[in-house]
């Protein structure tokens, strides 16, 4: 492990920018999000959990798949520098691994190259993720339910702990090791500092609410698929889709064309299974016309279907949906209700 002094942070970011396009948490009016930064001055390291999730770095809300003219189709050129993301939290680094499953070859067997999403892969495969430990988790954080934690390193290339005067770096992946090796200006850390990290970790974990055992969530969701509990869960939901838009793991999208005559583009846009039109077929038939069916779909996808394909829940417990929901439909309460439900 090595460290840099906080006073050296600006210089560090500047150096990083030589080889990378750097994204970091910034305050943008009332909202907070990951944005491409100009300098370290833009970064707000106090933001624990940006309102919009960093999935948009790799999977933007709208993305041009290709442009077309009478001469043919063309994929827009990407910027040539790879991405470095500073200040991602564990609940977000984990979400990237989940999305990489989907945007990779998916669960399809045998694995086929044609199932890879080149737009995601191009950005994600070369990126460098700096995962900043959460010294003071929020009341809405429940990453510990799903095996994550404020000091968990899953999905990061370089794990970073902020102390009073420094940033301490630990290489996690090969990519991270390679980066730190070339990093000459930093100093090694002392035993005292290792103890300091331990202490910070303990304090951070004490902030989190009690861990809920979710080991039976998979079987339980399957059992109750047909039960009236879903009407109760969905009663409040107004199907606004905000939960899906802020969620770091929701990945549904729509594809639509914009153009006139021979010129135009094909675009993909975030979409959500919360919207009635999502499944409405041309014939008028809609397999999920009821709000209850759609709420069930979201919950089942997260806590059952995804598990079936990838052995984990499609939720990192980041709590964004809890914060954003206009009718206070708290996903933690939903999970508890499901776990407690007796047929």
């Amino acid at each position: 492990m090595i460290k840099i002094k906080k006073s050296e942070f600006s210089e560090f970011i500047k150096n990083l920018q030589k080889n990378y396009s750097v994204f970091a948490p910034v305050t943008d009016g009332k909202a907070t999000a990951f944005k491409k930064i100009k300098s370290a001055d833009d970064i707000n390291n106090k933001i624990l959990n940006t309102k919009r999730s960093p999935k948009e770095i790799f999977f933007p809300q709208s993305e041009v798949l290709f442009q077309y003219t009478e001469r043919g189709m063309e994929v827009p050129k990407r910027e040539e520098k790879p991405f470095a993301i500073w200040g991602m939290r564990n609940c977000d680094t984990k979400s990237l691994l989940m999305l990489d499953n989907v945007f990779g070859e998916a669960h399809q067997m045998p694995k086929k190259d044609m199932y890879k999403d080149p737009y995601w892969k191009e950005k994600y495969d070369n990126c460098l993720v700096f995962n900043l430990a959460c010294n003071e988790p929020l009341s809405t954080c429940f990453c510990n339910w799903f095996g994550g934690g404020p000091f968990d390193k899953t999905g990061s290339d370089i794990f970073v702990v902020e102390t009073d005067d420094s940033y301490i770096f630990e290489a996690v992946s090969d990519k991270g090791k390679k980066f730190l090796k070339e990093f000459k200006t930093a100093e090694e850390i002392s035993d005292k500092e290792i103890k300091k990290i331990e202490k910070l970790k303990e304090t951070a974990e004490s902030y989190l609410a009690e861990k809920q055992d979710v080991s039976s969530l998979f079987s339980k969701t399957k059992e109750i698929w047909d039960e009236p509990i879903w009407d109760e869960i969905a009663a409040k939901c107004v199907n606004c889709g905000a939960c899906a838009f802020v969620c770091p793991t929701c990945h549904c999208f729509d594809v639509s064309d914009e153009g006139k005559g021979n010129k135009g583009k094909r675009i993909r846009l975030w979409d959500s299974c919360m919207f009635a039109i999502f499944t409405k077929e041309a014939s008028g038939h809609n397999p999920r016309s009821q709000s209850t069916q759609r709420v069930r779909q979201r919950v089942m996808h997260k806590y059952n279907y995804f598990m079936d394909n990838y052995d984990e829940h499609l939720c990192t417990g980041c709590g964004r949906c809890v914060v954003v929901c206009p009718v206070n439909l708290d996903i933690r309460e939903v999970i508890k209700k499901i776990l407690d439900y007796k047929k």
Binding site: W225, G261, H301
Partner: protein, 274 residues
């Protein structure tokens, strides 16, 4: 890395108007570039693009043995299908495919096969039937039940006439309600399926509107077909066709990559399938 979102171009070679009300048209597309030619099996589908208007999934109606073309039959029902119906011979369209899985033709080898279809969903069943007829000696008895609302709404009418002449194929045509001059069967597909007798040791493929599938599958069980020998093709709204956009997700399956072809055995395990 292959970019599966980018369609390749094909030329509209021939257009057939299938029904007098012009809601059903068939399009034979020819390849512009030899290297775009792909291998596929009956049951797979493609995304058909009209640039600027969008794309829609359609089952491939041609057989892999018809090497120079891809055939699609399109029911005019919304924005993209309308545009497709405006196409003229010689126009250029975009195609992505082949997508999805296929009817298990490997398992059908040496076996009897029953094909049950309803309405314009006979598309991939035509692919299957033509494919088996081209490789006729590989298969046992072939029986087809094909139903449409009225005689006008059968697709591939000229080919049906040819199929009726063959002695290595049993064809039962049925319409929903009696019509003057119709001397074949009358009644809904599930009912006719019950009446026509066949050997439940065959394999069975069912494709049609959701309601037909829903009522036909239990009839097959009644006749004695085991679930794992009944196959059907499911339909859901789609966009990407490659398991990303989430639109066609039911249970832990994605119809675009795990399907569209599923056995009845699999379907019984998928919530919301029927």
């Amino acid at each position: 890395m292959k970019n599966t979102y980018i369609p390749f171009q094909m030329k509209v070679k021939k257009i057939y108007t299938e029904s007098p009300d012009r809601t059903l048209k068939t399009f034979d597309l020819s390849y512009i570039n030899e290297e775009d030619k792909f291998d596929f099996l009956p049951g797979q589908f493609c995304e058909f693009s009209i640039l600027g208007k969008g794309e829609s999934p359609f089952g491939i109606a041609s057989s892999p043995t018809e090497e120079d073309i891809l055939k699609f039959t399109v029911n005019r029902t919304g924005s993209v299908t309308n545009e497709i119906h405006y196409l003229q011979e010689g126009d250029i369209v975009g195609i992505r495919g082949p997508l999805g899985n296929w009817y298990p033709v490997e398992k059908f080898k040496g076996q009897d096969v029953v094909i049950i279809g309803g309405g314009f969903a006979f598309t991939t069943l035509r692919s299957l039937l033509v494919y088996m007829l081209e490789n006729r000696k590989d298969y046992g008895k072939i029986t087809v039940i094909y139903g449409a609302r009225n005689p006008d709404l059968f697709i591939y009418k000229d080919e049906i006439k040819e199929w009726e002449k063959r002695d290595d194929l049993t064809l039962h045509l049925t319409i929903d309600n009696p019509v003057k001059g119709w001397n074949k069967l009358t009644g809904f597909v599930p009912t006719v399926t019950k009446e026509v007798s066949f050997d439940p040791t065959s394999w069975c493929v069912v494709c049609g509107p959701p309601i037909m599938i829903k009522y036909t599958l239990p009839v097959l069980t009644e006749i004695g077909f085991p679930d794992e020998k009944i196959y059907t093709s499911l339909e859901r709204r789609m966009k990407c066709g490659i398991g990303k956009c989430g639109r066609c997700n039911i249970g832990s399956k994605y119809i675009c990559i795990d399907g569209p072809v599923f056995s009845y055995e699999e379907i019984k395990k998928i919530p919301e399938a029927l």
